[in-house]
Symmetry: C2
Subunit: 272 residues, 2 copies
């Protein structure tokens, strides 16, 4: 999927919402756990079916599936396949934080682009150029590089100054020199919204995947004001506030209401 297609979807749906799937059995509606052999798949499917028209992207957190071993991995492949088959217009992201030497990154690209139908994968930048380029060599497939993350540990290394410039800015700048850099996107936590203007100046044409709005405390208005470009260039992720809007039988309606509220806030910003 190209950036142009994502932008068209944003205009069409009046939304730059990315639905995050982090299925946590402990927070899921209890009645789902009794009636099914595949409660995680069922839960994710029902949420996606309910809110897909309000989103332009879905981000699947692979850890929440891998935690359940082969069964979990099977659910991961199954939900990715279901989403791409039924809602091909959704930009499908594997939030997998992979990245390794070149010949190994090629295998991860095969895992997420061939064995599963993802459009993009999140990548840690520590190993540099040859760990990332294998994810960029295909038309319509994107690597989403960690730049500035929303967690506490972000402070440990991402702000280290080198020549008066923090590491995350070196990551942005350097990665723009890599082959097929036009297919790079970046993870920028919403809790770091005050850094978004600098980031946008460094990567004016790249989409930014922004987690941390809602549960983690980031402000949608700040993110939009500091981060939007002419093609919007933002995918704002919400996971918990939609998935766990209710743990009762009314959970699909509650998820719909939560997603609708976010989409309407986004529509207001887009139409200003």
């Amino acid at each position: 999927m190209t950036k142009k297609t994502i932008f068209e979807q944003i205009k069409h749906k009046n939304s730059f919402l990315c639905l995050g799937l982090d299925p946590d059995v402990a927070k899921m509606p209890k009645h789902l756990l009794d009636g099914s052999d595949t409660p995680i798949y069922d839960f994710c499917k029902s949420i996606v079916d309910e809110v897909q028209h309000l989103c332009v992207a879905v981000k699947i957190n692979t850890a929440f599936f891998e935690a359940y071993g082969v069964d979990g991995y099977t659910s991961l492949a199954r939900i990715a396949t279901y989403i791409k088959a039924h809602y091909p217009e959704l930009f499908l992201i594997a939030d997998a934080k992979r990245g390794d030497i070149g010949n190994t990154s090629l295998r991860y690209a095969a895992a997420f682009y061939d064995a599963m139908p993802f459009d993009a994968i999140t990548i840690a930048p520590y190993m540099g150029k040859d760990s990332v380029e294998p994810f960029l060599s295909r038309q319509g497939k994107h690597a989403i590089l960690l730049a500035l993350t929303s967690n506490e540990g972000a402070a440990d290394f991402q702000f280290q100054l080198s020549a008066d410039t923090p590491l995350y800015q070196h990551v942005l700048r350097k990665s723009q020199e890599w082959k097929n850099a036009s297919r790079l996107m970046y993870v920028v936590g919403a809790t770091k919204a005050d850094h978004l203007s600098e980031i946008r100046a460094l990567v004016p044409n790249s989409f930014l995947l922004v987690p941390g709005v809602g549960a983690q405390g980031g402000s949608l208005l700040e993110v939009y004001k500091n981060g939007a470009n002419a093609q919007v260039g933002l995918l704002v992720n919400s996971s918990r506030s939609i998935l766990y809007a209710s743990d009762g039988k009314n959970y699909p309606a509650a998820a719909l209401a939560a997603a609708t509220e976010l989409q309407q806030q986004m529509a207001k910003l887009l139409n200003k």
Copy 2:
């Protein structure tokens, strides 16, 4: 498994060899591809059975399994389970390069420590403390943090100077302050052997996982001279030179010969 147990195995086997399992169908003996539904599992199992007495650790590169989707992931879980059941004395490493915010890293820990029987997992440090600590909270389980990798892209960020100190040294120093840091190990490429003395000075008591001897050009003697501590503190990985010593029907014998040669070089160094 504790560091003490690993050291005892090193003395017992006169070896600090880590067998790397990066099963590549294109390089595997052709006759294995015809006769089996699970050639990757069969190949890995036969190699492990053949050389296990010469190794103290096995490092499984998860990408080479994930590339084949659910079937590949099933083989990953199956080979890990086989190794731990038959050779419990082998230190079993998932070379998975994971790492995410705390509640997600907890899930990856469950994936590799609970759903599969790994003793350790490799982790990218970019997201800092809370992305790593969930892998350190269990007795006998270890996180192996990327410090200085053997690939070309290592130059992009790992050598960035901050206060005259390269990033990889900040990673070593900072991570030693984290909770349960005694369970941290580090990845240091053998191609960077000239940096090993500095690294050893910063983390005198940590095991170092060293890939890159052999196919990638690192020298075992240099690695030992600069990197060994009183408990040896080294796990030197070899993948390709053992796995693909032959692509004919004699591949187990060829793998045995290649592993024996490495083990004997190690025995010489250990007994000097």
